[in-house]
């Protein structure tokens, strides 16, 4: 077994994800299958392979530095209309700082 119930709970906490007991059990089994499958990557020696960190090779044309100019989007009202608990010009959240 590659992944335990506790591993799933720990990862879910890192991802701020509430899972039911049933979900924890289901994901544990499925992730165990997937991670076991992923083990096949150990069949190839990659010690001399450079990782691919960029898909399209960078050229100066494609990665130019632009001036850092502020451009007003003027969408504050529209953005706040879509928020679950707005108080213009802010997003309100449950209390974070103790009294």
């Amino acid at each position: 077994m590659k992944i335990s119930r506790e591993d799933v709970l720990k990862v879910a906490a890192l991802a701020n994800l509430e899972l039911t007991d049933a979900e924890v059990e289901t994901y544990r089994g499925q992730l165990d299958d997937i991670l076991t499958y992923i083990d096949k990557l150990n069949e190839i020696d990659t010690s001399n392979v450079e990782p691919m960190t960029q898909v399209v090779a960078a050229s100066t044309d494609d990665a130019p530095l632009r001036e850092d100019v502020v451009v007003r989007a003027d969408i504050i009202t529209e953005v706040l209309e879509g928020a679950p608990d707005p108080e213009a010009p802010y997003f309100r959240v449950p209390r974070v700082i103790e009294k």
Partner: protein, 481 residues
């Protein structure tokens, strides 16, 4: 006159030019058919008639004034629900974005609308583009228009089905591991995944940023080429978009085909491929030989590792990209006593099972102590897969494979094992990892009448070559093999 809803881009233009129909009447025809079919097929999640009719009226006014019309004037378009459209609900097929209306348009949408296209609405998809069958949508699966008890493929199933069911002339999908090409194959329509960097992703709601791309579905390869010519090119708002020159793709299609070397990977027709799929792809290869292509044998030795590496990289990137859905700025919120509890409940209830599974896997592979074993290893395997393609393209101009090893399956038939579902993506995932363009073109049907797709890969930014060959294949009757 054929039914207006079956028209291609040139047919729409001819009808508008000859005043057989107005753009407004054309849009009405499409909405009438959508009204009739959408309940069963579940293709559209949102319609945008106000915006569509306003655009149609602009086109009609231009026609009345005798103005020159842009490339896509009056062409009805469907847009996958992971692509932002100003003021039109965009949910990514997820409860966590229920009711969300983006405050801006994606660049691809802006370009298509500027070229005269008419946005009819947003198409259903697997939640956040994660899936191969459309069964992961929070709003219910799309049904395959060719065989409604079968899946349309995924994740861009709604966009593929919209074209196949004549509910749009062209559509936009997105492809991360096969999500344009596989539903194109399942629904029997041409489906192009352009090179990474070819089309701006500004406004595409991210799943896996090093893999995500936008591309078209259409009735014909020519129409797909026309849409690409409009959406391709550098966009200052997407730092990953390339300034490589954009060809006039439709103009390149009718050049003679000769001496094209098509690479056939030696071990791609072995275990796991459906016999009927194999037979039609082999017939497709013979047809391409008759058209003057030369068959060369190539090796893609690292293909076997593509799926495993893909699920590391894609889920790792997804776990990071999807961190933004926290009930603060958009979408519904589930209340909690503390900020963290609010996040956990909002995300726990807002995301569906496949998305949660991938977030958990992605977070796991990135968590302390596992980075080298998983993410770094995945990037190294990715480099090997890209090398396989580079070496293959030294011997061949294009690579031919099946799009999917299996024809469309029944709804519910494959949901039990996520791993088994993932494994069916191996022909498409390799190209996603390498960043190269690939198209799926219809290549006959099974004895039960289910569509089969043939995939053509080209080297990075070789869309013209891929489209050229696909067009010749289509013209020679590839879809009726």
């Amino acid at each position: 006159m054929s039914a207006p809803t079956t028209w291609t881009i040139p047919e729409v233009r001819a009808a508008l030019d000859s005043r057989k129909i107005s753009a407004r009447e054309l849009v009405k025809e499409f909405y009438a058919l959508i009204d009739q079919k959408n309940r069963e097929l579940n293709i559209y999640l949102a319609l945008s008639p106000e915006r569509a009719f306003a655009q149609a009226d602009r086109i009609d006014a231009a026609i009345a004034a005798g103005d020159a019309l842009p490339t896509l004037a009056g062409v009805p378009l469907a847009v996958k629900d992971v692509i932002s459209t100003h003021g039109i609900p965009t949910t990514c097929g997820s409860r966590i974005l229920e009711g969300y209306k983006p405050p801006y348009d994606a660049t691809a949408v802006t370009r298509l609308e500027s070229a005269g296209a008419i946005i009819l609405g947003k198409t259903n998809c697997d939640e956040f583009a994660m899936g191969s069958s459309n069964e992961n949508s929070a709003y219910g699966p799309v049904r395959n228009p060719v065989a409604p008890d079968h899946v349309p493929g995924g994740s861009s199933g709604g966009s593929a089905a919209a074209v196949a069911a004549n509910l749009a002339v062209v559509s936009l999908g997105t492809d991360t591991g096969g999500s344009i090409r596989q539903p194109g194959s399942f629904c029997g329509v041409p489906a192009l995944n352009p090179s990474y960097g070819r089309v701006s992703r500004y406004g595409l709601i991210a799943y896996a940023s090093s893999l995500d791309r936008i591309g078209p579905f259409a009735h014909t390869v020519r129409d797909a080429a026309t849409v690409l010519s409009v959406i391709a090119g550098r966009d200052p708002r997407d730092a990953t978009s390339s300034s490589a020159p954009v060809s006039d793709y439709p103009a390149e299609l009718d050049r003679p085909l000769h001496g094209i070397r098509m690479g056939i990977p030696d071990d791609y027709f072995g275990e796991g491929i459906d016999p009927e799929v194999r037979q039609k792809i082999e017939a497709g290869i013979r047809l391409l030989e008759k058209l003057g292509c030369k068959r060369v044998s190539i090796r893609m030795p690292n293909t076997d590792y593509a799926i495993a590496a893909y699920y590391i990289l894609a889920t790792a990137e997804a776990s990071s990209n999807l961190a933004r859905y926290d009930g603060v700025r958009f979408g519904p919120r589930v209340p909690g006593a503390t900020l963290i509890e609010m996040y956990q409940k909002t995300r726990g209830r807002g995301f569906g099972p496949e998305v949660k599974r991938r977030i958990v896997l992605g977070t796991y592979v990135l968590s302390a102590g596992y980075y080298d074993a998983y993410y770094l290893k995945g990037q190294k395997i990715r480099a090997l897969i890209a090398r396989d393609f580079r070496e293959a393209f030294e011997k061949a101009d294009v690579i031919i494979t099946p799009t999917s090893p299996v024809p469309p399956f029944r709804l519910g038939e494959r949901t039990a094992s996520p791993l088994q579902m993932y494994l069916a993506d191996s022909y498409t995932v390799t190209g996603s990892m390498a960043g190269v363009p690939g198209i799926s073109v219809p290549s006959g049907k099974t004895s039960k009448g289910l569509p089969i797709g043939l995939q053509i890969y080209g080297p990075a930014f070789g869309e013209d070559r891929v489209l050229h060959l696909a067009h010749a294949f289509e013209r020679a009757g590839g879809s009726d093999l």
